[in-house]
Structure formats: structure tokens, C-alpha cells
Amino acid sequence: MLDVYLQTLLSGLAVGGVYALIALGFSITFTTTKTLNFAQGEFISFGAFIGVTMLLLLSGLASTTTAVPSEAASAWRYPAAVIGAGAVAGFMGILIFLLAVKPFAGKGGMNWVMSTLGFGVMLQSLGLAIWGPAPVMVPSPLGDNVLRIAGAGVRPQELLVLACAILIMVALDLVMRRSRIGKAMMAVAHSPQTASLMGINVNLVMIGAFALSSGLAGVAGVLIAPIASASLFMGMGFALKAFSGAIIGGLNNPRGCIYGGFILGVLESGIGLWQAQWREIVVFGLIILVLAIRPAGLFGQAAVDKV
């Protein structure tokens, strides 16, 4: 029975790592600009296909219509594809900020909700025109053999996602709390006007935040592709769950978002042991509960309005 629980925990952490990575992206733009990129899901799908294209270009191998040959992901090519997808998605993040968020950010109203959603629809249509609707299986650079840990099975790529999520989280945490750039971001998040008066280029920090958050989505896309297979429809589901994770953890706390992502993953896998069809009901029920009891999330700081 112990191996069953261990399997549930491992499987949950593996899925939770994906949620955590994307949840972090939501938190970064929210803390700096008080807006969210609702095209995050499409950035994941788009990033995955940038990765697929790069793997094929770098290896010079032809793809069948539905799978990338496994040699294409060997050695340095997969990390290169991850970085490449992060860079392209980061650049698209700058575009979405300049075109769809900046004109509306800081103003009353929710125009940026519609404009980022619209940007996502455009991105998806563009992707469909380039790559077509069929899902593409991407090989893992670490092979596909199941690893056994005390009777529970896990795939190398799932451990890789988990490791990357933790690594990126720690690195970002250090940058945010220790470096001048991080402090500038936190200052902008606290009050753009004051930050601006202190000589911080608020505009640049906001652009950076969108580039970083979108870049993370692109990286996540290439990391998830060997688990879920790359498809232009894959991002939405993950992004919705990741957003739920961010809400549970607390949108204004990057660490909380990560915890939220992991909690959600383990919870889903645990509910599968009980009644899998009730999963969505329990998950979203929990979100409502959390919002009712702790509106700022489990790890979020309640905003205090001073007058």
C-alpha cells in the first residue's frame, strides 16, 4: 500500500512541477504590473512548437507528421531548444506587453483581459497555420525508461521538469530578493509612482517582467512536450490549472504560487485514488473555499489599504 501512496505523491509532484513553473509566470507579471497575461496557455503551446522546430533544424532530421525522431533531442540540442523557445517566447512577451497591455495597464477597467486573450487567439491561429492541428510527440533527452523509486515508477522527463521547476524557483527567488534588478521589480510592484521618483525605469522593469514570464511559459512548453506531446491545444488546460495553483498559493507571492502549483498536482493525483471524476469539482471547490477564507491565497499577504 505504501508504494501506491508513493506513486501518488511522485505522480502528483511531477504534474505539480509543471503547474508551478507556469504559476510562477502569472505571479511575475501580477506583482510588477498588476495585470495578468491570459495568453500564457498559448505561449506554452507556441513555445513547445518553437522547440520542435529547433530540434529538427539543429539535428537536420526530418519529422514524420506526428513525431520527432528520438535522436533529434540528444546531447546539447534539447537544452538549446529549451533556451531558444524561452528566448522566442520572451520576445513575444515584449510584443504582448507593448501591443496589448501597456496601452491599458494602470488605467481603470479590464481592457487588458480582453486584449491578452485576443493576443492568445492570434498566436494559436498563427501556430495552426504554421504547424497544423495534429499533436507532435517530442522525445525526452534522458530517454523513456521508467525509473523505479521504492516500487513507484516515474519517467526521467518528469524528474527533469521537477528539478527545473525547483531550480528556476530558487534562482528567481535569489534574484528577486538579493539583486538590484529584483529590488527594482519589487519596488515597481509596491508603487510604480514612487519607484519612478527613485529613478527606476518603470517601463523597462514592466517589459522585463512580461519577457520573463512569457519566456518561462516557452521553457515550460518544451519541458512538458515529452510528457504530454506538443499540441497547439495543450497549453490552455495547463494554464488554467496553473492559474488555479497561483490563486491557491497567493498571486502576489512568487513562492506561494510555486507551493500552490505543487499542492494542486498532489491533490489531483490523490483524488484519483478516491474518485477521479470528482477531481475538477474538488479542485475548484477548494479554490472557492480558499478565496472565501484567505482572499489573498494560502501564502499571500493581505493587502492593507492605508488612508
Partner: protein
């Protein structure tokens, strides 16, 4: 432009118009309405159109039907029900097609099946497999919906018969996805299992985008399930066998025919893809006729496993042509009467159809035309074992 050349142009235009309208009057238009571009199943739609085009070429080369050539009018429904409904009206009312083949997605056929019935314009499905597509609108009503393809309920009957007859099967479990497709399958599974006296000891569900089903599988394992009946789409079945490997639990796995998709094969990987057993109409052990059509279409086909739809649609067109010939015209009600009582056998790719339809039977292919199939070295091959050999047609009753 000089006045002379203007006059010449006008004369040319007039004669061209006269010529084309003369040809127009002679041609019989057939419609295709289905997804050709928007969803993963678009490849099936594309293969279907290739099959219809091949059949029309063959008929026209032999002089057409009633001395008139056949032409095909193709409409892409982008897998969206509203677009598919609009296409139906456009094809029947504006293009004046005499019959519509398709669609790719079962849901779209269910969304517009009232239209062919109201307009008395036969529709011959050759891709979508949902059981209810060919059911009449009401018990005694004339039914213009026909099909030359697989039927979900007949496959379910096959899977249940296998589980029932397998002496090694002690405990059966059902595993389905939470979409409409999975739930429809579960309903068929439960109804037919009860009718055949088969009691599942566990039923589990998973999401279509899930990447890990180990929790559900661990429950089945704990319950002692040795045979699972799976109803889901290709990719999630691929994830399911991957999860089976994680916990090293491999019960006898009988699945819906979606395991024939390339997306299943790619997700599962070469070795795990060989686990499920399922039914489909064509394996890669093709008959000479099937091989001939395959060789003819292969250069244009995007997905090899979609060939079955090309063959179904080829046959659907042949049966339609035979009905027009017997009816002596293209009037809908007469075509329906002819379809339901075809006198001459129709030579098709799947088989020779002798009275494929009647007033009550609207399926040209039934369980006895299906093949047990598995993946072997990347090919879809016929599967047989002692259980399959012992199955009799009476075991497939629904």
C-alpha cells in the same frame, strides 16, 4: 479594346456559358461535408475525400450513372457544429447535391441529422462512428441517414464478447475518458455488459488531457481487475499504457478503435503500443482490392492509418451511385427506396455489398466485417488467438 475584339469576347463568353450550363445540366452533384483542416481528425476527412474522388473517377471512366457524369462538391466544416449545419443547407439548397457524404466528427452529424430527413436528401456517413447517427428521428419515420463505417455499439459488443469468452478473464474493469465520447462509450459498455451478464467490478474515469493515470490504475489493480475495457481517444490511451508501465500492471487491454491513430502510437511508443487489442475495418494485411486503392492514394495521403476512411467513403459513393441507377433518377425519396432495397450487388473495396441497407438496417458494415487488430513493429496487423477463433457471429448481437 477594339469593338471587334469586344464582340469576339462577348461571343466567346456566351458560348462558354452555354457549354458550361449544358455540362451542368448533365452532371450529378454529390456533396462532402466534414472537417478537413481544424482538428486532429482532419486527416480522416482528407482521406475520405480522396476515396470519394477515386470512386467518382472510376464511375465516370465507365461512362457515369444514367449517362451523366458525377462531380463532388466539398465543404470544410472546421469541426464546428454550426458551420457543419450551415454547410448542409448550402450543399442541399444551393448546390443541389443529391446526397451528402461525411462528416468527419460524429457530433456534427448528430447536430444536423434532422436536415437530410426534412429535405429527403440521403446522407451516407463514412467516417464518424457514434451509434445514434443512423437512428431514425422517430420510430416510424423515414430515415435518410446511412453509414458505411464502424459503429461504436458494435465495437463495444465485440469487446464485451471477447471479455465474456476469455477463460482467463475473472474480473473486468471499465476505464473511460470524461468527454462525450468516453461517456457515450461507457453507456454502451454498461448496457451491453448487463445484457450479456458481465459484471464489471470497477469503473474508473480520466481526463482527455491527463498525463498520468497511475491512481486510477492502482485502484483497478487493488480490486484484482485482470481485463480492462477502455473507451477513449488515441492520445489518452497512449498515456494510459505509459502509466501501466509505471506501476508494472498490464491487464488484458481491450480498447475503442482510436488506438489505431498515429497519435496513440507516438504517445505510447513502439513497445507499449503493442499492448491494446481493438477492432477496426482494415488492417495492413490488405485484400488485393484494398491494396490497389491504397497504392493509388498513398502518395496523396497524409496519414497511413486513415486509409480505412478512404475505403469506406469509396464504397459509400459506389452504393450511392447504385441507388441512383436503380431509382432511375436523383429524387430523394426514390433514392431512399432504392438504397433500402438494392437489387444488384455493389462491388466495393471492403467487400461486395448484397442488400447493404433495409428499412431497419442502416449500417453497411457490421461486427462480422470488423477485424481484431494490434500494432506490431509499427504496423496495424490482424490479431487472432483462441478467444477470437472461438467467437461466433451470435456473440456480437447488440
Amino acid at each position: 479594346m477594339t469593338p471587334q475584339s469586344k464582340a469576339l469576347n462577348a461571343a466567346l463568353l456566351c458560348s462558354a456559358l452555354a457549354f458550361s450550363s449544358a455540362a451542368y445540366a448533365q452532371e450529378i452533384k454529390i456533396g462532402f461535408n466534414g472537417d478537413l483542416s481544424a482538428s486532429p481528425s482532419a486527416q480522416s476527412g482528407q482521406a475520405g475525400v480522396l476515396g470519394i474522388q477515386a470512386a467518382i473517377e472510376d464511375i465516370n471512366a465507365a461512362g457515369g450513372v444514367l449517362g451523366r457524369k458525377l462531380t463532388l462538391v466539398v465543404r470544410d466544416d472546421l469541426s464546428q457544429p454550426p458551420k457543419s449545419i450551415q454547410n448542409m443547407s448550402d450543399l442541399i439548397d444551393n448546390e443541389k447535391v443529391v446526397a451528402v457524404l461525411g462528416p468527419t466528427n460524429s457530433g456534427n452529424a448528430l447536430a444536423w441529422k434532422h436536415i437530410p430527413n426534412q429535405k429527403k436528401n440521403p446522407s451516407i456517413g463514412c467516417i464518424g462512428s457514434a451509434t445514434d447517427i443512423t437512428k431514425p428521428m422517430s420510430a416510424s419515420a423515414d430515415n435518410y441517414m446511412y453509414r458505411v463505417s464502424m459503429v461504436d455499439r458494435a465495437q463495444v459488443a465485440g469487446l464485451i464478447a471477447y471479455a465474456k469468452s476469455n477463460p482467463k478473464t475473472k474480473n473486468v474493469g471499465f476505464l473511460v475518458e470524461t468527454t462525450g465520447y468516453g461517456q457515450g462509450g461507457l453507456k454502451d459498455l454498461q448496457e451491453l455488459a448487463e445484457a450479456k451478464g458481465l459484471k464489471p467490478i470497477a469503473t474508473e474515469k480520466f481526463g482527455v488531457n491527463d498525463t498520468d493515470m497511475t491512481s486510477q490504475l492502482n485502484k483497478l489493480k487493488a480490486a484484482g481487475v485482470d481485463t480492462v475495457l477502455v473507451w477513449a481517444q488515441g492520445t489518452p490511451i497512449g498515456q494510459l499504457v505509459r502509466s501501466m508501465e509505471k506501476i508494472n500492471y498490464f491487464p488484458v487491454t481491450l480498447t475503442s478503435w482510436s488506438s489505431d491513430n498515429a497519435s496513440f502510437y507516438d504517445t505510447a511508443g513502439k513497445n507499449l503500443a503493442e499492448k491494446p487489442v481493438f477492432m477496426r475495418t482494415i488492417t495492413e494485411d490488405r485484400t488485393p482490392k484494398q491494396q490497389q486503392l491504397y497504392d493509388r492514394l498513398a502518395p496523396k495521403m497524409t496519414s497511413k492509418s486513415a486509409f480505412s476512411f478512404a475505403a469506406h467513403c469509396y464504397d459509400a459513393l459506389m452504393i450511392t451511385a447504385a441507388a441512383i441507377k436503380q431509382a432511375g433518377g436523383t429524387e430523394g425519396a426514390k433514392m431512399r427506396e432504392a438504397l433500402e432495397n438494392l437489387q444488384a450487388p455493389v462491388e466495393g473495396i471492403m467487400k461486395t455489398y448484397t442488400k447493404p441497407f433495409s428499412a431497419t438496417e442502416h449500417e453497411a458494415l457490421t461486427a462480422s466485417d470488423y477485424r481484431w487488430t494490434v500494432w506490431k513493429d509499427g504496423r496495424l496487423v490482424s490479431y487472432t488467438d483462441d478467444v477470437v477463433k472461438a467467437l461466433k457471429p451470435s456473440d456480437f448481437t447488440q
